[in-house]
Symmetry: C2
Subunit: 406 residues, 2 copies
């Protein structure tokens, strides 16, 4: 295999599920770029618009390799970078020209900021009525909190997610990654493809309004069911499952083991594995409901058993008994684990300046689109000449560069 | 407006983005049903296959309204329910007949279980080569851990997500909702629509392998960047942002306030709002990096200010100063908040037996598909006769029912 990078990219583009879709990507930092990285990896042409000289703020995020941000590179794989000053009328004119040929536009401006740049849907749909325009924000394009800036911790706090994460007697807890941004990004992905299907059948584009808070709220199925159907005020339960027991983490000699017993059959296996078959005859533990009511007593019994073992010992015994159990892996351990390596999630690409870099694949394995090489993330403005060359000649491009528009 | 329910559904089906797509849904409990609920709400016809007499396990989950599970109803909106015993050869024959006319099949069997039922992709693609078949599982269809059952806490533990959630000096913490299931469900959504686009252009269906662990790992962008580009072993930082400071929750007199200061401009506003403009001249706090290095000292200053105020007082002052800040809402407070009410996330539907029930909309607002009524979740087997009536006569259906196949 001596294919050049260009050949690999163009091979992919011919057969990839999303080939033929062109995305103008005005998004920055996390939610929008995460969405467009998935779409780029599946074959869409993503033209990332960046501020001349500086680019996406995420280009400054630690850590770096060869002067390029690892964070930025992970979520800007397989995109093209075009620099364009959207505060300049000439820059906006080029944006509008790009929108003419685009299928999709993705942005995560604070609501209202896009209109000041001439990049709002009302303006762009006049240029391209078939455009699918996705706006991702913290609180959405409408509603009293709409103008507020989007920070993930605020979305986690305002959605109720923090209130249900953490120990029962501890403080509300932020999920250790920006789930508000990322879930909004996933919602942008599917809704864009749904709107593209609608456009393919009707010729009509549309606007998609995706909010981080709405995204998180809509995912909180168990808490929503407790609140809406029982007015039960769901709160924190630590690592305990709210309904099934024992379904929690338990301390071993050298860390924690997770045990997930969700029904009576599994409880029978657990009791036998722990050397306590007499628990099966104990009415306190006869059903999942009874076990949940008597959780403190059961916790003492399980902890007595786990506390005498290492995590590996406990997992091995429970595995052999058919009880779902696992260690709690660090990120380093998860990435190095035999299973994750076998799944091929982490791969590499050759970056034009940073050399060989690690990349993480989008997680879905398509049988008609085998895991192949992924084109690297772009350097700032790497594709400006190529993309603008389709409708501006070399002298015009040189003038734009001289004047700081690109 | 005196439209009957049927009129509303058929009006929607004519113009909805996903109208014309038929989904055979073998999935149970959470990940698969969450995915197909989104697709159903956007106009796909979802035929949910359930075990005769019992149905989806989630029909037993507390709390109930009128004998129906709230959890089940929230994520089975707008679907049809058909009972079918897949352990009976006559049931499998009917499944195969349904697959002939389907565009999509969604399942979340444990890997291998589908083949024992005659519901695996190798079998079904022979019946319908254009079928898009999505399999959601804990660890995916391949890899050493593949046969293990999918429990969300195990996926959170094995992905590394628990290891980065919680206090720095506390235990690894489970996110208070089943994010492994739900993010796998969102990945199923977009990948199904990508594969449908591929099918529409090539005529070829395909298999999609979606794992809860892969889904979570692929979303951990900041920890991945730290591990892959700096080998930095990311761990828990409580509610603190790993890079920006002060970006955390802080104790007030009556709860916690979240403050999100991500740059120098916001820090200047915060310092002034707290009545400490002298902090701007303090070299310990001059840059985001410096503030993160001197986080303990800065925390003392911010906590001294928040500790003298109620959450509402602190949020009001910070709001007026343009500093992103918010209370940490409970689920009840989030749902009752003016903004969430204005967004229209919670709506109602008329269930055939449980009466008026609350439902939560999918979170994306489509401009060409305004928020309208959502068809209710089905009772067990509510649509068996309607769906089977397309290819079985009344006597045959009666015999299937008598023999417990449906």
């Amino acid at each position: 295999m001596n294919l050049t990078e260009e050949t690999l990219i163009s091979d992919k583009t011919e057969t990839a599920p999303l080939s033929g879709l062109r995305i103008v990507d005005l998004s920055r930092v996390l939610a929008g770029p995460f969405c467009t990285a998935l779409l780029a990896e599946m074959g869409a042409e993503v033209i990332k618009i960046e501020t001349p000289g500086r680019g996406d703020d995420a280009r400054q995020f630690l850590p770096f390799q060869g002067g390029e941000s690892g964070f930025f590179m992970l979520i800007n794989k397989a995109k093209k970078s075009v620099t364009l000053d959207l505060k300049s009328p000439r820059g906006v004119k080029i944006l509008h020209r790009l929108v003419e040929d685009a299928d999709i536009l993705v942005a995560n401006f604070r609501p209202g900021a896009d209109a000041r740049l001439g990049a709002d849907y009302e303006t762009l749909k006049k240029i391209n009525p078939a455009l699918v325009h996705a706006s991702i924000s913290g609180f959405g394009q409408e509603g009293p909190l709409s103008p507020r800036p989007a920070y993930d911790i605020v979305a986690q706090a305002m959605s109720g997610l923090m209130s249900i994460t953490g120990e029962a007697d501890g403080p509300p807890t932020r999920v250790g990654e920006s789930m508000g941004d990322l879930c909004a990004g996933l919602n942008a992905c599917w809704s864009i493809l749904a709107a593209i299907r609608h456009r393919d059948r009707t010729g009509k584009g549309q606007h998609l309004d995706i909010a981080m808070t709405d995204s998180l709220i809509s995912m909180m199925v168990t808490p929503l069911s407790l609140q809406l159907f029982a007015n039960a005020g769901p709160t924190r339960t630590g690592n305990r499952h709210p309904i099934s027991t024992p379904f929690d983490s338990f301390p071993c000699r050298d860390g924690y083991v997770v045990i997930a017993v969700a029904n009576d059959t599994l409880f029978a296996k657990l009791s036998t594995a722990m050397g306590h078959p007499e628990l099966l005859a104990d009415s306190r533990f006869a059903t999942d409901t009874a076990r949940t009511e008597n959780e403190p007593a059961l916790r003492v019994l399980v902890t007595a058993w786990t506390g005498e073992r290492t995590v590996d010992e406990a997992v091995q015994v429970l595995d052999e008994a058919g009880v779902p159990a696992s260690p709690i892996l660090s990120v380093a351990e998860a990435l190095a684990s035999e299973h994750v390596v076998a799944r091929g999630l982490v791969t590499t690409a050759n970056h034009p300046t940073a050399g060989e870099i690690p990349l993480v694949r989008q997680p879905v394995r398509f049988s008609q689109w085998p895991q192949g090489p992924i084109a690297p993330p772009p350097t700032l403005g790497q594709h400006t000449d190529e993309v603008l060359g389709a409708f501006r000649d070399a002298d015009e491009i040189a003038a734009l560069r001289r004047d700081g528009v690109i």
